[in-house]
C-alpha cells in the first residue's frame, strides 16, 4: 500500500474539516494561555487552502502540499501561518515527483517538515508547542513495519504528545509570558497537530 496524490488531497480535506469542527475548542485552549486566535486562524487558513487545491490540478502529492503551504503562509499570520506553512512546504519539497509514497518516504518527509518547523520556531521538545506532538508521532512512524501501522501509531503518538503538554511550563510563544501559570493547560498548537495526524490516519490508513 502507498499514499497517492489523491490521498494527500483527501487528507487535507479532512484536516480542514477538523479545523472547522474544533475551531471553538482551539480558541478556548488558546484563550487560556495564548491570544485566543488559533482556532479561527487555522480554520480560515485551511478553508483558503481547499479553495487553492480545488482551483487548479495538482501535479503530485508534493505539489498539493506546497499549494497548502503557500495558502497558509499568505492567509494565517500569527505564528501558526509560518510554522504550518513551513511544515507543509518542507514535506511538499521532499515528496515532489513522488506518485506512490511508501512508509520510508512518508517518514522522511515528516522529518524534513519537523526540521523546518524547528529552524523557524527554535522550539525543542517540552517547550509546550506543536513540536511536542510532532516528535513522538514521527518516532512512532520510524519504528513501524508498514505504512498502515505507521499512520495509526503516528496518530497515537501525537495524541500522547499532545496530552503530555498539559503539565509543561511554556518556553516559546505568547504562552511563555505566563510562566508557571501556563501549567495545567493543553497546548493549542500540539492539539491542532494531533488533528493533522488523526486526519492522516482516517484518510490514508487501511486504504490499500
Amino acid at each position: 500500500m502507498s499514499i497517492t496524490r489523491d490521498g494527500v488531497v483527501d487528507w487535507m480535506r479532512r484536516f480542514a474539516g477538523e479545523m472547522d469542527e474544533h475551531r471553538q475548542e482551539l480558541v478556548r485552549l488558546d484563550t487560556a494561555i495564548g491570544d485566543g486566535d488559533h482556532g479561527t486562524n487555522m480554520d480560515r487558513g485551511m478553508k483558503k487552502a481547499l479553495e487553492k487545491l480545488d482551483a487548479a490540478d495538482q501535479a503530485d502529492a508534493g505539489a498539493a502540499l506546497k499549494t497548502v503551504a503557500m495558502a497558509l503562509i499568505s492567509s494565517v499570520g500569527g505564528a501558526a501561518g509560518p510554522l504550518y506553512g513551513t511544515l507543509f512546504l518542507q514535506m511538499g519539497t521532499a515528496l515532489s515527483g513522488e506518485d506512490e509514497i511508501d512508509l520510508a518516504a512518508w517518514t522522511a518527509a515528516w522529518q524534513k517538515g519537523l526540521e523546518g518547523v524547528q529552524a523557524r520556531g527554535k522550539a525543542v521538545r517540552e517547550d509546550k508547542t506543536m513540536v511536542d506532538a510532532l516528535i513522538p508521532a514521527i518516532e512512532a512512524m520510524e519504528s513501524a513495519s508498514d505504512l498502515d501501522e505507521g499512520l495509526r501509531a503516528a496518530a497515537k503518538g501525537a495524541e500522547e504528545g499532545m496530552r503530555a503538554t498539559t503539565p509543561l511550563v511554556a518556553r516559546k510563544g505568547r504562552a511563555s509570558y505566563l510562566g508557571e501559570r501556563s501549567k495545567d493547560h493543553q497546548d493549542p498548537g500540539a492539539t491542532s497537530t494531533y488533528y493533522l495526524f488523526k486526519s492522516a490516519e482516517e484518510a490514508l490508513a487501511g486504504s490499500g
Binding site: 484563550t31 491570544d35 503562509i73 500569527g78 501561518g81 509570558y177
Partner: protein, 333 residues
C-alpha cells in the same frame, strides 16, 4: 460584548475603508493583501520604512504612515501578525532604491513572518534591514520566554527613523539609529480592565473590580503582579522604578517621556499620570527634554497606560523634532 462594528469578520477591512475615506488623499490602501502606503511612494533615493502587526493597536501602525515616519504599514487580523505576502507587497511599494527597513515588534508571530518577508524581499534584490523592538521590562526571565515584548519604543523608533530616512541617511545608518533608540528605551504598562477581541467576544483575562495588573502586555499578556488599585502616584511609581533601574537611567540623563493610553483611558487620567512621571523623573535627576502623551499604541478598549523612557542623544532629539505629517502624529508642517 458591545462594539461599534458591523461584524467581527469585517472589522479590519471596515476600519481600513474608513482610513481610505478619511485620508485617501495621502494614503493608498490595498485590500488584497491589506497594505497602507503613502500616496507618493516610493520616494526615489530614500530608505523606505515599513512596519506591521496585528490590528487593535490603532493608531499604530497605519496611523503613522506619511512623510517623516512610515512609508507603509501591514495590518494583520486583530492581535494576529500580518503575513509575509503583505510585508513583501509593502516592501516593494516603498523601495526607492536605497533599501527598506522593517520595524518589527518582538512577538513570535511577527518575527517569523517578517523573517520570511525579508528573505522574499532579498530574493527580489531589495536590500532589507530589520530593527527589532523589545523594550518591555515587565518580562523578567527573557531567557525562558519568547523574550521582551516590543511596545512603546516602537512608536518612537518609527518617528526617529522616519526623519533620518528623510534626511537622506543610508539604510545601515537608519537601522543603527533605530537599534540605538530601542537599546536606550524601556517601557512598562498596566491595566485597569481587560480587552475583548471582536472574534472571541470574551475578555482576554479576568481582573477583579478593585484590582490592577502591573506589567500587562498589549494583547493582555500577564504582567509581573496584581494588586489592589492605589492612587495614580503609586501606579506611576510601580512602572517608573523598574524602567529606571533596568537601563539604568542615571542622574543627568536627558530623556523623552512617553505616557501612552491603552485605548479606554481618558486623556485627563493620562495627564494625571504624566504629572507623577515628571515628579519621579525629577527625583531621579532625569531631565525630560521631550514628551508624548496620548493613545498611540493601544489594546482595543483596555483601560490602562504604559510609560516609556528613552535616553536621548543629539541625533535622536533632532530627528524627533523634525516635521512629521501622518494621520496620528503631525507637527512642523
Amino acid at each position: 460584548m458591545k462594539k461599534l462594528i458591523n461584524s467581527p469578520d469585517t472589522v479590519v477591512r471596515d476600519a481600513l475603508r474608513g482610513m481610505e475615506a478619511a485620508h485617501g488623499d495621502r494614503l493608498r490602501i490595498s485590500y488584497d493583501p491589506y497594505v497602507v502606503v503613502r500616496a507618493d511612494a516610493p520616494v526615489q533615493g530614500k530608505v523606505g520604512i515599513i512596519s506591521g502587526g496585528g490590528s487593535g493597536h490603532e493608531p499604530m501602525h497605519g496611523g503613522f504612515v506619511g512623510p517623516g515616519m512610515l512609508d507603509a504599514a501591514c495590518p494583520g487580523e486583530v492581535f494576529t501578525s500580518p503575513t509575509p505576502d503583505q510585508m513583501l507587497e509593502a516592501t516593494k511599494a516603498v523601495s526607492g532604491g536605497a533599501g527598506v527597513l522593517h520595524v518589527v515588534k518582538n512577538y513570535t508571530g511577527d518575527v517569523m513572518n517578517f523573517d520570511m518577508a525579508a528573505d522574499m524581499g532579498k530574493a527580489e534584490d531589495i536590500e532589507v534591514e530589520t530593527v527589532l523592538t523589545n523594550d518591555d521590562v515587565a518580562v523578567e526571565d527573557s531567557l525562558y520566554t519568547a523574550g521582551r515584548r516590543g511596545v512603546g519604543v516602537t512608536v518612537l523608533v518609527e518617528k526617529i527613523c522616519g526623519a533620518a530616512a528623510d534626511d537622506g541617511r543610508s539604510l545601515q545608518d537608519v537601522a543603527e539609529l533605530g537599534r540605538r533608540v530601542n537599546a536606550n528605551g524601556r517601557s512598562m504598562g498596566m491595566a485597569l480592565t481587560p480587552c475583548i477581541t471582536p472574534a472571541s467576544g470574551e475578555p482576554s483575562f479576568e481582573l477583579a473590580e478593585d484590582e490592577v495588573e502591573i506589567g500587562i502586555g498589549i494583547h493582555g499578556e500577564p504582567g509581573r503582579f496584581r494588586e489592589h488599585i492605589g492612587p495614580a502616584s503609586q501606579i506611576a511609581e510601580r512602572l517608573m522604578t523598574p524602567i529606571v533601574e533596568d537601563l539604568p537611567f542615571s542622574s543627568g540623563d536627558k530623556v523623552l517621556a512617553f505616557v501612552n493610553g491603552m485605548g479606554g483611558t481618558p486623556l485627563i487620567e493620562l495627564y494625571v499620570v504624566y504629572a507623577e512621571v515628571a515628579k519621579l523623573a525629577q527625583e531621579h535627576g532625569l531631565t525630560i527634554e521631550r514628551n508624548l502623551i496620548g493613545n498611540y499604541i493601544t489594546s482595543l478598549e483596555m483601560q490602562g497606560c504604559s510609560i516609556t523612557l528613552v535616553k536621548l542623544d543629539d541625533d535622536m532629539t533632532r530627528y524627533w523634532d523634525a516635521p512629521v505629517n501622518t494621520p496620528a502624529l503631525r507637527w512642523g508642517v
